[in-house]
């Protein structure tokens, strides 16, 4: 049995779980309704792909974390938690974490990506002439920019999904897992921006370091990357954020969160440490007695 097959089996079970959960299936419908309302008010549809992305950016900063929390908080909880049984199969911790994360991420990509793709198709029908051009240079609205926007949105979702899974796996009960995952959601939506604002007003963060500081906050990094690599390309107005720092910030949150899930997944992350501490203590006592 290869690791790849185990990973595939676990990931497929997660995808099937998302697809079979009716409440999850309502999420893309809800998102599409919010997008429709937002675009109707903002008028981005007629403007083309980039104005549409600008209109949807703020709602997505709020809604993507909500979807990620909904998918992540029960990934290892309640009836979904069969870790004691999986331990008796040749399933490595890495395959389990990777399989659950990738499976749920596919679900998230479907839930967020489907209504965004519908919006993209609508823009291609009602957008201006310029929106039907596949741009080969800057300054032109293009479906390529909207695909880039969609990809960045799913990457942002992946980071928050991993954070929600990490928060929920470190607590035992279902309610505590929901509370922990929601706390992550609130922290992602508002925490980074508030900290940056507090740093600015307290003169702890200088104007020149603001772009780098914002990169440490997942939603600010996402917003900055969209402004830089989608809006900035078409309008020639970039420099919203330090791009490399933003990518590093998102990658750092993703890897740290998945690492935490890996630590928490064996249900006794601190046991080994406690045992070693106890052994060290008894050795120290013996040495002192001598």
């Amino acid at each position: 049995m290869t690791r790849g097959r185990v990973f595939g089996a676990i990931a497929w079970r997660e995808v099937s779980t998302v697809a079979r959960t009716r409440s999850y299936l309502l999420l893309p419908v809800g998102l599409l309704a919010v997008f429709a309302g937002t675009l109707r008010a903002g008028g981005g549809l007629e403007g083309g792909y980039v104005p549409t992305a600008v209109d949807l950016l703020l709602p997505l900063e709020l809604l993507v974390p909500l979807v990620a929390v909904a998918l992540g908080y029960r990934a290892f909880g309640g009836d979904n938690d069969d870790r004691p049984v999986l331990l008796t199969y040749p399933v490595s911790k890495r395959s389990l974490v990777a399989g659950v994360f990738v499976g749920r991420l596919v679900g998230l990509a479907g839930i967020v990506g489907t209504p965004l793709a519908v919006v993209g198709v609508v823009v291609s029908r009602v957008g201006g002439h310029e929106s039907r051009v596949f741009a080969t240079h800057g300054g032109v609205d293009s479906p390529v920019l909207f695909v880039r926007f969609l990809a960045l949105t799913i990457c942002f979702g992946a980071v928050v999904l991993a954070m929600a899974m990490a928060a929920s796996i470190l607590v035992r009960s279902g309610r505590a897992a929901l509370a922990a995952a929601l706390a992550v959601g609130v922290a992602v939506v508002a925490g980074g921006d508030l900290l940056a604002l507090a740093g600015l007003t307290a003169d702890a963060i200088g104007d020149d370091a603001l772009g780098t500081a914002l990169a440490a906050s997942p939603n600010a990094a996402y917003r900055g990357l969209v402004l830089e690599t989608v809006v900035g390309v078409a309008t020639d107005r970039g420099a919203a954020i330090d791009t490399a720092a933003a990518v590093a910030g998102l990658a750092g949150w993703l890897l740290a969160s998945l690492g935490s899930v890996g630590l928490g997944v064996d249900r006794r992350p601190l046991t080994g440490l406690r045992v070693r501490t106890r052994e060290l203590r008894s050795r120290a006592v013996e040495a002192l007695d001598r």
């Binding site: 049995m1 097959r5 185990v6 089996a9 079970r13 099937s16 779980t17 079979r20 959960t21 309640g78 009836d79 979904n80 938690d81 069969d82 870790r83 004691p84 049984v85 999986l86 331990l87 008796t88 199969y89 040749p90 399933v91 249900r267 006794r268 046991t271 080994g272 045992v275 106890r278």
Partner: protein, 241 residues
Amino acid sequence: MSDDPVLRIDGVSKSFGSVEVLSDVSVSIPSGSVVAVVGPNGSGKTTLLRTLVGDLRPTTGTVSYVGPDTDRPIGYLPQEPTFRPGFTAAETLAFYSSLLDGRDPEPLLERVGLAAAADRNVEALSGGMRQLLGIAQATVGDPPLIVLDEPASGLDPNMSESVFGTAAEMAGSGTTVLVSSHDLALVESTADAVVVLNRGSVAAAGPVSDLRDRFDVDSLRGVLNAVVGDTEAVAVVGGTR
């Protein structure tokens, strides 16, 4: 039953904080036998079984699997098995089977009498049927050692008898079955050996007939009463905190 052990438990203790739930447990589980772990509520049966399957790490001591080399050495039915909602009984077993050899789950469902419910979603199964599905899951991949924590819980008397009968059949074909149960009559009629736990320690162990002779009683219940004493209170190990 063979004299070769399939599992060795040497000086295993398990503490949760300051509460020691298992204390210096040492037992060998012979291969091809049905071994029952019995004891009053709170005696440490579930903690012992969870430690044996690797769900809990012993605070001290070692658990060594010394049976045949295989992809899945130990099958496990937890005390409260969980199944992914939205999946049928057959799909549930097919998933676990796909982690090993991908064999058809149908014969496993037939073995536990669940073939007729193969296409029923797990959330629509009764408590007893979920228990049977859990037992079928424990046998996926034909592990040499199967650990069943309270397999008869929630089953009617006939089904309980059938589960223990299946355990005896599996032992007859070389599989070792380690089972915890409060149904002492079924244990007495099925188990080759019994481990009696009391307050986290092994109070007695051996074939049922030997234990009856040693305590000069005529049933396993008599053995348990002799070891534990008549009490109506749950044993609370480690004091009140």
